[in-house]
Amino acid sequence: MEIAAVLNSLEPAAASLNVDQAEAQEQVDSLLYDQRGSDGKFIGPAGSGAFRVSEWEPGKRLVLAANEDYSGGRAFIDSIDIRMGHSAADRLLALELDKADLAEIEPDKARDAAEHGIRLSVSRPDELIALVFFPGRSATQDARTCEAISRSIDRSSIVSFILQRQGEPAGALLPQWSSGTAFLFSTAPDPITAKEISHQISTTTKIVVGYDLADTLEKAMAERIAVDAREAGVALAVEPVTPAERKSGKLDAELVRLRMISSSPRESLVRFVSTLEPLTGLDPSPVPGGASADQLYEIERNILSSYRVVPLVWVPEVYGLSARVRNWTMPPVGGPWPFADVWLEQQQQ
């Protein structure tokens, strides 16, 4: 989700955001609506929340204005200007040029942003980047191929160098802070075993791994995975794909991002399973309601034992804030933006 916010408490005060339309809908709705029903869906008229829609250019811009009559109290800021579809570099640049008050920053750029004096708000790691192997591909028909690749990956180097320490190596589907059992899944590379396995495999076909064309982080990770796999004796090629090309069938695997919808390990796991099932063809056992830690652990272990899903890293959400943004708190996992409580400090003329 892309966010860059310009909050202007003067005339008219507007907070501008750059945001991807699809992902932002939930967030925007949380600003527009006051209540959710028991089914989790928002109820009541739009604009009954802290903000109402002021301008709307589909796919480009959404301006929300403060609801004067909001039962929870009028928001401190007058409006939020949400701009959509800007690249990560543009969002960062907007922050540096003071053309945005809030921008979502890629984790690997967070350190650079901090060195440039940008204030950062970093969440707990709540998004998993995983390598997912598609079913029915001849190159990965042998599950040992996937295992060799998985064992060859140096996650800590990816976290250190690519993510610039903004993230954690991931061995499990759920992060440690959520499940408490992620530490039981090894994240250390095992290149020796990976080599032994690759020697047993007779295939010489190059495995094609796709990544999002617009995602430089995925590109860097995919290239690094290719290097690690190559050291283990597995030939791997990386290819950028657009969303339309994702289902073209030319890929053997792809980097996938799975964002947690809540801090509850069960809810997130259910969401992950439903996302991964069509991609991998796996049919894991359903996640029971009220599942205990060991039950969730067993489900994770079963999913990961086939090596069709290879967790790589957990990355946090990182927001860059301009100097005048005040009282910004990191929203909880899956929670709404706290724009109603944010105010802008007036700059000295």
Binding site: W177, S179, G180, F183, S263, A293
Partner: protein
């Protein structure tokens, strides 16, 4: 059972209780561990803390777990060197046989969004099993809320170029007067300490002191100001005010320890031949040691001896056979805290005279010793460590490897929540 009784009967201090749900979880985990480890005859159990619980809390929980597991199999427990950040124990039917562990258990105190998760990874040969219990977070208030945070505070009094064996501060109603009595290998000196500088006002030579490679000495101040110096096998008594003293050369003179315990000092060596009589801990009597820490519970209480083979042993008959602590230095001393009712000892490091040393505070509980707080680092070896008379602090003589000076310090425990 023995552990449990002593715990419930109390030892004179009130310890934070482990909440019942936690006890249930611990019990469940211990049962699982025992079941998975069977038929191993010895077990190495280590711990690490990945939760928001403080180390002391997790150490306490871990100690409970060790007790539960030991109780079920009738094993003895011996603390061993740990590589996981938390304490580690060897459990065995007969520790004296020093058999290697048949199975390894790694206990991780973890935490998720829904609560704590305590995980035990049991490895036996090539197989590994994982057991875990979930604990809700609401039950932790009684456990972790009241534990004070202990830290060591060092106060360097002065430094001098002549070798220093011990020193004593004259106190008046528990406040130092600034008068210092210094025991050196060849003399006894008195002086005034002001601003980190000791100005010697009077000296008395010591003669006929036996030659020892590692000469040790100790000063005792009586309430009337009389200074008694124990050096090698001699005892000298001095009156600071009149700067005169009388040395009584009594080979084999016993050095006094707390609570009337005495030990014979071997004159040409630097260790004690053994405590003469320890009614409460008969097994400790006669065992040679370098230093001793008599825990605050008095002569009937447990004591720790830093014994000659490089191990320290806790003699606490009420809590079972002696516990062995590895990785401790030769100098230990009991120290009391004003905020924590637990028993604590100060322990030096295991280096030699060419290496920097450290002082670490340990909490002794249920036959286990748990490091409490951060250690205090020294710039050179610690040459002497003695508890103060009121045990609220300890005197330390060390040598600074950079300057070559002998430093006189005191160490006390400060409390914070």
């Amino acid at each position: 059972m023995v552990f449990a009784i002593s715990f419930l009967a109390g030892t004179g201090q009130s310890q934070a209780q482990i909440p019942a749900p936690w006890n249930e979880a611990l019990t469940s985990l211990a049962e699982k561990i025992v079941a998975d480890a069977t038929p191993a005859s010895s077990l190495s159990v280590s711990s690490q803390n990945m939760s928001s619980l403080d180390q002391t809390t997790t150490n306490r929980i871990f100690a409970e777990l060790i007790w539960e597991v030991s109780r079920r199999r009738g094993w003895e427990a011996q603390q061993q060197e740990s590589t996981t950040g938390g304490p580690s124990y060897l459990l065995s039917k007969n520790l004296s046989q020093q058999l290697p562990a048949d199975a390894n258990v790694k206990v991780t105190f973890s935490e998720g969004a829904d609560g704590y998760v305590w995980v035990a990874e049991i490895s036996r040969g090539e197989s590994q099993q994982i057991e875990m219990v979930s604990v809700s977070k609401q039950d932790t208030a009684g456990m972790s809320g009241g534990k004070p945070w202990l830290s060591l505070r060092r106060n360097v009094l002065w430094a001098q170029s002549q070798p220093l064996l011990d020193f004593a501060e004259e106190k008046l109603t528990d406040h130092p007067t600034g008068m210092i009595t210094v025991l050196e290998p060849n003399r006894l000196a008195t002086g005034n300490l002001n601003g980190g500088v000791l100005t010697i006002s009077g000296t008395s030579p010591l003669t006929d002191i036996p030659v020892a490679r590692d000469l040790r000495g100790r000063l005792q101040l009586s309430p009337n100001g009389q200074v008694t110096a124990y050096i090698a096998g001699s005892m000298c008594i001095a009156e600071p005010k009149n700067a005169s003293f009388t040395c009584v050369h009594e080979p084999g003179k016993d050095w006094p320890f707390a609570d009337g315990l005495e030990a014979v000092y071997v004159a040409n060596r630097n260790y004690f031949a053994g405590l003469l009589s320890v009614p409460a801990e008969p097994s400790a009597a006669g065992r040679p040691f370098y230093s001793a820490a008599i825990l605050n519970s008095g002569s009937k209480g447990p004591l720790i001896l830093a014994e000659l083979e490089g191990k320290s042993r806790l003699y606490d008959a009420a809590n079972g056979p002696p516990s062995t602590f590895n990785g401790w230095g030769d100098d230990i001393a009991f120290i009391a805290t004003s905020c924590d009712s637990s028993e604590h000892v100060l322990v030096t490091g295991v280096g030699d005279w060419t290496q920097p040393d450290r002082i670490q505070l340990y909490e002794i509980s249920r036959g286990t010793a748990t490091a409490d707080g951060e250690p205090v680092e020294f710039s050179g070896p610690i040459l002497a460590l003695w508890s103060s008379d009121d045990a609220m602090s300890a005197r330390i003589v060390s040598r600074n490897l950079h300057t070559g000076l002998y430093e006189a310090s005191t160490v006390s425990v400060s409390c914070s929540n």
